[in-house]
């Protein structure tokens, strides 16, 4: 297991290097000039040139890139152009909110996905199955902001159960997590349904029934654990995705996560922040997959390392 972690971390270093290179080139090719943006509208060409020099933007691309990599190797993501603060500090400040929303969102989507996926599988082909699958279809195709506004309207404005926006209490996290969860649950439910249908047709489920154990035990003790494996891989992917920020949901609910940070940075052409968040997301995706690979053997002895 330690070997696996070491291998993945080594691989993630390579991945980060690749992501850094690609992002760097893309940002360099961007028509927007951060110096112009910083200098303001009335600035002279000289001021802009000074700022460019100050930020090191007048140097060749390769020099800039090597310089960035040198800093990166020391854990330094550079300073924000606009906020005059270390990017690491900015990201760390946003991390708790992002992690909370990620965990809550994944919890909601997995819970809903499991419940409805199992229900659909057990009623395969029947009206309940069709209803659940139709709901899933709506779930996966509804735009985030529509669901977010709908939930806000009903639960915050009309019923007043939860705050409209902000961060701080447990109540604040409910609606954003529900928005993410409802949207993700559609995917999970479909996945759980097809995995369960597959597993319920397996020989070992027939063996379990032939033992005379209750149908509930057949489903929860024998079938479900076997159907969980693809779900774990999906959770790993979601960890990475949610870490890169859920821009729309954070915007609607005023959630101070990484999504908000990067959204502002893009508007202000704050390259160090964009780079920093991109790298953090890339690392989170690697880490999410690693977590999935570490959890899977706990459920499936066949992939347990010898």
């Amino acid at each position: 297991m330690i070997k696996l972690i070491a291998q993945r971390l080594a691989a993630s270093a390579l991945i980060l290097l690749g992501v850094a290179a690609i992002t760097f080139v893309l940002l360099y090719l961007l028509p927007a000039d951060p110096a112009v943006n910083l200098a303001g509208r009335s600035a002279t060409a000289q001021t802009v040139a000074n700022i460019r020099h100050e930020l090191g933007l007048d140097q060749p691309l390769l020099t800039q890139f090597l310089h960035y990599l040198g800093n990166l190797a020391q854990g330094n993501l550079g300073r924000s152009y606009t906020q005059k603060t270390e990017v690491v500090t900015l990201i760390l400040a946003r991390l708790p909110a992002t992690l909370i929303l990620m965990a809550a969102g994944i919890a909601v989507e997995v819970a809903l996905g499991l419940i409805f996926g199992v229900i659909a599988a057990l009623n395969r082909g029947g009206p309940v199955d069709r209803l659940v699958m139709a709901a899933c279809f709506v779930g996966v195709s509804a735009p985030q902001f529509v669901v977010a506004l709908l939930l806000l309207y009903v639960f915050a404005l009309m019923l007043g159960w939860f705050p409209m926006s902000g961060f701080g209490t447990a109540a604040h996290v409910v609606l954003p997590a529900l928005t993410l969860g409802v949207l993700g649950a559609g995917w999970y439910a479909r996945m759980v349904r097809s995995a369960m249908i597959d597993v319920l047709n397996q020989d070992y489920v027939r063996t379990a029934r032939a033992k005379g154990i209750s149908e509930r035990r057949v489903i929860f003790r024998h079938a479900l654990p076997n159907a969980l494996l693809p779900i774990i891989a999906m959770i790993g992917i979601d960890i990475g995705q949610f870490m890169s920020g859920v821009v729309v949901v954070e915007a609607v609910y005023g959630w101070p996560g990484i999504g908000q940070l990067v959204w502002q940075a893009i508007q202000q052409v704050d390259l160090p922040i964009i780079m920093g968040v991109t790298l953090v997301s890339a690392f989170a995706i690697v880490a999410g997959n690693l977590i999935a690979d570490l959890v899977a053997p706990l459920i499936d002895p066949r992939i347990r390392a010898r």
Partner: protein, 571 residues
């Protein structure tokens, strides 16, 4: 142990199935799959339900357990009586107490019949505690006892192991141990040894016989293999198309079969030793063997020091060089003759077949009719593809379901740019006729054909390029005995008319005996014995060859393998 079913009285049969009728629910309405099946299982006896696929054997057993898939199969009428209790009318809860408690069941596929994510111990203990009021510790002790009873060594350690750590034979032992752990009155064994190697099969059959007397269980054994029937049965019920066509004592059924179908079934079983005293397979075209022309007796396939290794790279076996599936084997296949390659699973026979056609990387020398098979590009393999073709095991998986039969057979011709469209259509029609199908089936799709017909189509496809060598890898293993016999006859006929040579790979000693001129016995990647068919079968030099031959159950009840020297052949 204590189900709802009371103690049996000696006059009453233990399990009586009367007039059982089951319908399959299809899109086009109900289709009868069991039609008035009646039989009785007496206490302490073994009754075999024998028949080919689709005869309704498994549906019968699942009906008794009330485990038929609700959506597709429904019991229409009939009664199932277990020692005075009518099972068809039991509540679901009461039926669960019968399942595993009074009637236990083991299945065909030991590899997939145990839950892969639960330890052996957890699965055994679950079965025990479902039917017996025991705490975890007592159940664990009982589980250990059962593993001992089914002769699994290091029982303590096995309890914490998972199914994938055990071989197929071991898993079937665990299944049997689990089934008998609650001392059921009836054990239903549905093709319990079909997926196992012949030597493992012999051990498992012996175990079932042994435990039957030890636990006093009656056995309902379902099998397609008349050899297994003869080995195990006190009485036999022969099933065909959802009906029992004959039922009687094992010796009577084998020696004086009443129904025509029973006679056919017994006749179709290739018997080991049937070709004793001859040098080659039987002539099937009726023509006398042509005198061998000068220079006809040459090897069409020469294999020297063939080694096939798997793993070695990244992946599960990342330590070391990987493992050799085939190690430095050498043999020849003579033109127009058959070399039978026999061995158990994991012996390397399939890897050999693939390597010969360059379908898997190997080291060593393979020469087909003067062409060296090697790792040159696909273009260089073309002439070899024309010379040598393959027929696979699974006729269901080896035809593209979206391609018509005609297109599938014509494809090799198109790839090799042989003939124009009209020529190819003629050739397809000719090939279909030659494998015993009507030429007009060319426009139909594979799903419209039975397994045997599909295998004929695969043979036609393999013949399209007029090859001189065909590698047949377990080509009849998936077919019912009667169908198998006809496909084997077709292959013999084609050998005579087309002068084909076969590298005939099989685990089935009787089939190998029927088909081969010479035989190579493989074990753990090596050829342990090679020689003429007569030498290998009639005077085997190696112990392993003798074990293989001895393990084959013969379709003659009087020749049962019997435990202990003094035990009578029949009880």
């Amino acid at each position: 142990m204590t189900g709802p079913v009371g103690a049996l009285t000696s006059s009453h049969p233990l399990l009586t199935v009367s007039d059982l009728t089951v319908d399959a629910l299809t899109d086009r309405g109900a289709k009868r799959v069991l039609d008035g099946v009646s039989f009785a299982l007496k206490a302490g006896e073994t009754l075999c339900l024998a028949g080919e696929s689709g005869s309704g054997k498994s549906v019968t057993s699942l009906s008794i357990m009330r485990l038929l898939p609700r959506a597709s199969l429904r019991v229409v009428s009939g009664s199932i009586d277990l020692a005075g209790t009518e099972l068809t009318r039991l509540s679901d809860r009461a039926m669960r107490a019968v399942r595993g408690g009074d009637i236990a069941m083991i299945f065909q596929e030991p590899m997939t019949s145990l839950n892969p994510v639960m330890s052996i111990g957890a699965q055994l203990i679950e079965a025990i505690r479902t039917h017996q009021p025991m705490d975890e510790r007592a159940a664990r002790a009982r589980a250990l006892q059962m593993l001992d009873a089914v002769h699994i060594s290091q029982a303590e350690r096995r309890l914490s192991q998972y199914p994938h750590e055990l071989s197929g034979g071991m898993r079937q032992r665990v299944m049997i141990g689990m089934a008998l752990s609650c001392q059921p009155k009836v054990l239903i064994a549905d093709e319990p040894t079909t997926a196992l190697d012949v030597t493992v099969q012999a051990q498992i059959l012996k175990l079932i016989r042994e435990l039957k007397s030890e636990f006093g269980t009656s056995v309902l054994l379902i099998t397609h293999d008349m050899g297994v029937v003869a080995e195990m049965a006190d009485r036999v019920a022969v099933m065909k198309e959802g009906r029992i066509v004959e039922i009687g004592g094992a010796v009577d059924v084998f020696e004086r079969p009443q129904a025509a179908y029973t006679r056919e079934l017994i006749a179709a079983v290739p018997r080991l030793g049937a070709r004793a005293g001859t040098d080659g397979p039987p002539r099937v075209t009726g023509e006398a063997r042509a005198p061998m022309a000068e220079g006809e007796d040459f090897p069409i396939l020469t294999v020297r020091d063939l080694t096939v290794s798997y793993g070695g790279g990244a992946g599960w076996f990342r330590a070391g060089q990987g493992h050799a599936a085939v190690e430095a084997i050498s043999f020849d296949v003579m033109a127009g003759k058959t070399l039978g390659l026999v061995g158990e699973s994991g012996s390397g026979k399939s890897s050999t077949g693939k390597a010969v056609l360059g379908l898997t990387p190997f080291t060593g020398t393979v020469i087909i009719d003067g062409h060296v098979v090697g790792d040159h590009g696909p273009g260089a393999m073309r002439p070899i593809r024309r010379l040598a073709q393959m027929i696979f095991q699974d006729p269901y998986a080896s035809l593209d379901p979206r391609m018509t039969v005609g297109a599938a057979i014509a494809e090799p011709l198109i790839i090799h740019r042989i003939g124009d469209k009209a020529d190819r259509a003629d050739r397809v029609a000719d090939l279909l006729r030659r494998v015993g199908l009507m030429p007009d089936v060319a426009s139909r799709y594979p799903h419209e054909f039975s397994g045997g017909q599909r295998q004929r189509i695969c043979i036609a496809r393999a013949l399209a390029l007029r090859p001189k060598l065909i590698v047949a890898d377990e080509s009849v293993a998936a077919l019912d005995v009667s169908v198998r016999a006809r496909v084997l006859d077709l292959m013999l006929e084609l050998q005579e008319t087309e002068g084909l040579a076969y590298l005939f790979i099989s685990h089935d000693m009787a089939v190998i005996e029927r088909m081969s001129h010479s035989v190579a016995v493989m074990k753990s990647g090596k050829i342990v014995e090679i020689g003429s068919r007569r030498e290998v079968f009639e005077a085997p030099r190696e112990t392993y060859t003798r074990e293989l031959i001895a393990a084959v159950p013969l379709p003659v009840p009087a020749m049962k393998h019997v435990e202990g020297e003094t035990a009578p052949a029949l009880s």
